[in-house]
């Protein structure tokens, strides 16, 4: 593989967890609930996947347990935020702090610095897609990824259909945009908001599982490294539209891929390249915001 296709393959590879978070998280965004717990949910998925992989080699079981745990966290979030009308920022922060704290406690209890499922060989998880793999150039970028990546790419399409062509998606958008219209027609906002949060949690489970189990077979605490927040930035910039938001996820993936591939040439300062995605996030948010308020003439604070 030459450098260019290497960079593009890595872009898809590194976009995966962000992309999954984005496509799951945008449902809650559309429903008017800011879910900042994406980060914590993703970390929970990472941890559980490898933790279960220490005891079994059953892929299905590993997937199910990660999904289950994240669903529970999602339900807790939904219960507190939707049913009990709590402050979403505080609940989200609590989850984001609680998950790594529990993980670190278990690591300490087990007396290990991180979890390693020795039987996992990431290469075995990567599989080619017939037909696509034979397309010159494109095949080498899109094929040969783990399952999570394909789920993520498929989700762009699924999220678009669900959001715009099904009752669930239409109602989710309505409760976020004009909750009074929803109530006046008997659409139960709480129900749809809860499901929207739950979809986000399940997608975070797959994202986390991809990050730890599918890629490395290793869990390190804090390995999500802010990807959940980058996903929020992508959702925000794409206004929650599946294709646009996914595009921003790819931009962040590309930044990460560049950081890794170019750092080979950078020598001792290569670590500096790791800040590229985060710098890019700030830059994109700033540009986006400046663009949004370019016509703002009010003197009010908000």
């Amino acid at each position: 593989m030459n450098l260019l296709s290497r960079i593009l393959y890595d872009m898809v590879y590194h976009t995966t967890p962000i992309l999954l978070c984005v496509l799951g998280g945008l449902f809650a965004y559309k429903a008017g609930v800011l879910n900042i717990a994406l980060e914590g949910m993703m970390l929970a998925g990472s941890f559980i996947a490898v933790f279960v992989a220490l005891h079994t080699q059953n892929t299905l079981l590993i997937y199910l347990s990660a999904l289950l745990v994240c669903a529970v966290i999602g339900l807790v979030f939904a219960y507190l935020a939707v049913k009990k009308k709590g402050n979403v920022i505080i609940i989200g922060l609590a989850i984001n702090m609680l998950v790594p704290a529990i993980a670190s406690f278990i690591l300490q209890y087990m007396g290990v610095p991180n979890l390693t499922a020795k039987w996992v060989n990431p290469v075995n998880f990567r599989f080619d897609i017939p037909l696509i793999k034979d397309i010159p150039f494109l095949g080498s970028i899109l094929s040969g990824h783990p399952l999570g990546t394909y789920i993520g790419l498929l989700m762009i399409f699924v999220a678009s259909v669900v959001l715009y062509k099904t009752r669930f998606g239409i109602y989710t958008r309505v409760i976020g945009e004009s909750p009074n219209a929803a109530t006046s027609l008997g659409i139960q906002a709480n129900k749809y908001a809860t499901w929207a949060i739950l979809i986000g949690a399940l997608c975070c489970a797959v994202a986390g599982l991809n990050l730890s189990y599918e890629r490395l077979g290793i869990f390190t605490n804090g390995m999500t490294a802010g990807r959940g927040f980058i996903a929020i930035a992508a959702i925000y910039c794409g206004k929650g539209k599946p294709v646009q938001s996914a595009m921003y996820a790819f931009i962040f993936g590309l930044a990460r891929s560049l950081a890794i591939n170019l750092s080979v040439f950078a020598g001792p300062i290569s670590a500096l390249f790791d800040i590229i995605p985060y710098l890019l996030m700030i830059a994109i948010l700033a540009i986006n915001s400046a663009y949004e308020i370019r016509n703002y003439r009010m003197r009010t604070y908000w």
Partner: protein
């Protein structure tokens, strides 16, 4: 035809406050029933109980003799009761057909989990045709006028085959022509067998369209009359409990001084979406003159007031006051120059609800030395000042040390007027000064504005109540799509002619001069 809807001792309490007290309402099938009452009399509470957006504290509702047991708006619709709210319940980014069918989406024939947008469009187009409305199903709602949005709300209910249609203050946002069109449509619906309940405080419309009237005051029914056996004055008296002047005594003398005190020239600004919302607006106000601005809401009046009161920035044009340029000055600078401001939304911009009466009474003057001793607030003097305002302007309060939230709408507005007038300004900018205020307070506020004018003050009056602008102003500018379309003399112009200007057409004869 018999009784279709009846309530028995229907009561709603919010804590200690009784919003509806033992209401016994009877609505006959196929009639247009008007329910009138002042703001805060409990009309909307009653309707929200009929529509089941509110749970009654006690009492019962009978539909065709059967007690109703449904407990959600969706149930109410299924039983044939539909409501068009005062504030529309539409999704702005959705198309017309999506809004009409919201909650009853049509499924795709084969893929049942998908919504069939094509089928929905056809169905809605047919519905619109059947009832003779004029609407494009594929239009996005946020691009439509308020009148058109209201049609969507009515269609939404008609699609659900309701027998009883409740309309909550449907005409408050329409031009006079749109009002006439709506009233015609209501008569048409009545002819098709629908029962209509019209909640309003506009007595002219009640007289025009209804069959019977129920008057509500302070949560109680105080009268049921046949429309043919009553008149506006009698209804007004029932609503308020005493004789009221429906039209304010305005001799329109002014002081005919040639001295121009306030000049606005080509003022322009845009909204967040980059659309021009105030478009080269120019006018001038003389001493001792009330300049009124009329127009359907949302045609730039709101932004114009924000520009002139220092809450928004202009992108072009100038404002001169007493020969000095004051474009884009901040509100405190304007106040220091002697400009008083009655803002559009009294709680968002005029008062701080959770602060005391006395603190609110000096808002806007906090930098003045009058209320300070050695640079620190002198609360004794501030309280004294507040008490003076309360006495002089007859503001009814419950508790002096309490917050502004204790005041009724009318008394809160009086506090703002007291505060602003007390500064002895030379120019008063009054935006929607009587919105949501009871009839008694309206009388008082109008008199204050006229007295100020008669004593030589200049007034800019912006209001969506056409009758208010017409009875108070000496000259009227009509705004349409951000422009002042024409300037008219209220004494020589009919409401119909102004209505045409409000809708964007310039009538031939009436306009004094065209801008």
């Amino acid at each position: 035809m018999g009784t279709i809807l009846q309530t028995k001792d229907l009561t709603k309490k919010f804590g200690d406050f009784t919003a509806n007290d033992k209401i016994n309402l009877t609505v006959e099938e196929g009639e247009i029933k008007a329910i009138v009452g002042e703001n805060g009399a409990g009309k909307s509470t009653l309707m929200n109980m009929l529509y089941r957006q509110l749970e009654p504290t006690s009492g019962e509702i009978y539909l065709r003799g059967q007690p109703i047991e449904f407990n959600s708006p969706r149930d109410a619709i299924q039983h044939g009761i539909g409501m068009v709210h005062q504030h529309f319940m539409l999704v702005p980014s959705f198309k017309v057909y999506e809004n009409i069918l919201l909650g009853t989406e049509l499924a795709h024939d084969k893929l049942r989990f998908l919504v069939d947008h094509k089928k929905e469009q056809q169905e809605c187009a047919e519905l619109i045709k059947r009832y003779g409305f004029d609407l494009d199903v594929n239009e996005v709602v946020e691009n439509l006028s308020v009148g058109q949005q209201q049609k969507i709300e009515i269609l939404k209910m008609l699609y659900r085959n309701v027998d009883i249609l409740i309309l909550d203050e449907p005409t408050s946002v329409l031009t006079p022509q749109e009002v006439d069109e709506l009233l015609l449509q209501l008569k048409e619906l009545k002819a098709q067998g629908k029962t209509i309940i019209l909640i309003t405080h506009k007595l002219r419309e009640v007289m025009q369209v209804s069959d019977s009237v129920t008057v509500i005051k302070k949560g109680q029914i105080i009268g049921n009359v046949k429309t043919s056996e009553t008149n506006e004055a009698e209804l007004a008296q029932m609503m308020v409990g005493r004789k009221v002047l429906l039209t304010v005594q305005n001799d329109h003398i002014g002081q005919e001084s040639p001295e121009v005190i306030y000049t606005v020239n080509d003022l322009t600004t845009n909204n967040t979406y980059g659309n021009i919302v105030v478009d080269h607006v120019s006018f001038e106000i003389k001493k001792g003159e009330i300049y009124g601005i009329a127009g359907v809401e949302g045609n730039g009046q709101s932004e114009l007031v924000k520009l002139l009161s220092g809450m928004m920035e202009a992108t072009g044009g100038t404002v001169h006051y007493k020969g000095e340029e004051i474009t884009n000055l901040w509100a405190d600078e304007l106040r220091k120059l002697g400009i008083a401001i009655i803002p559009e939304d009294r709680y968002a911009q005029g008062l701080c609800k959770e602060m005391s009466l006395s603190a609110n009474s000096i808002a806007g003057s906090t930098t003045s030395d009058a209320f300070k001793k050695n640079g620190i607030f002198d609360f004794k003097r501030i309280r004294q000042h507040c008490q003076e305002l309360i006495d002089h302007y007859q503001i009814r309060i419950a508790e002096f040390e309490g917050n502004v939230s204790q005041l009724s709408g009318g008394n809160a507005q009086k506090l703002i007027i007291a505060r602003e007038m007390n500064r002895q300004p030379d120019l008063l900018i009054a935006s929607q000064p009587t919105r949501g205020v009871d009839i008694g307070a309206i009388e008082f506020i109008h008199q204050q504005i006229l007295d100020f004018r008669n004593s030589g003050g200049a007034v800019l009056l912006i209001s969506s109540e056409l009758s208010e602008v017409m009875s108070l102003s000496d000259r009227i500018g009509v705004m349409y799509k951000g422009k002042i379309l024409g300037e008219v003399d209220p004494l020589e112009t009919s409401e119909t002619e102004i209505g045409l200007l409000m809708a964007g057409t310039i009538p031939q004869e009436a306009v004094v001069y065209e801008k």
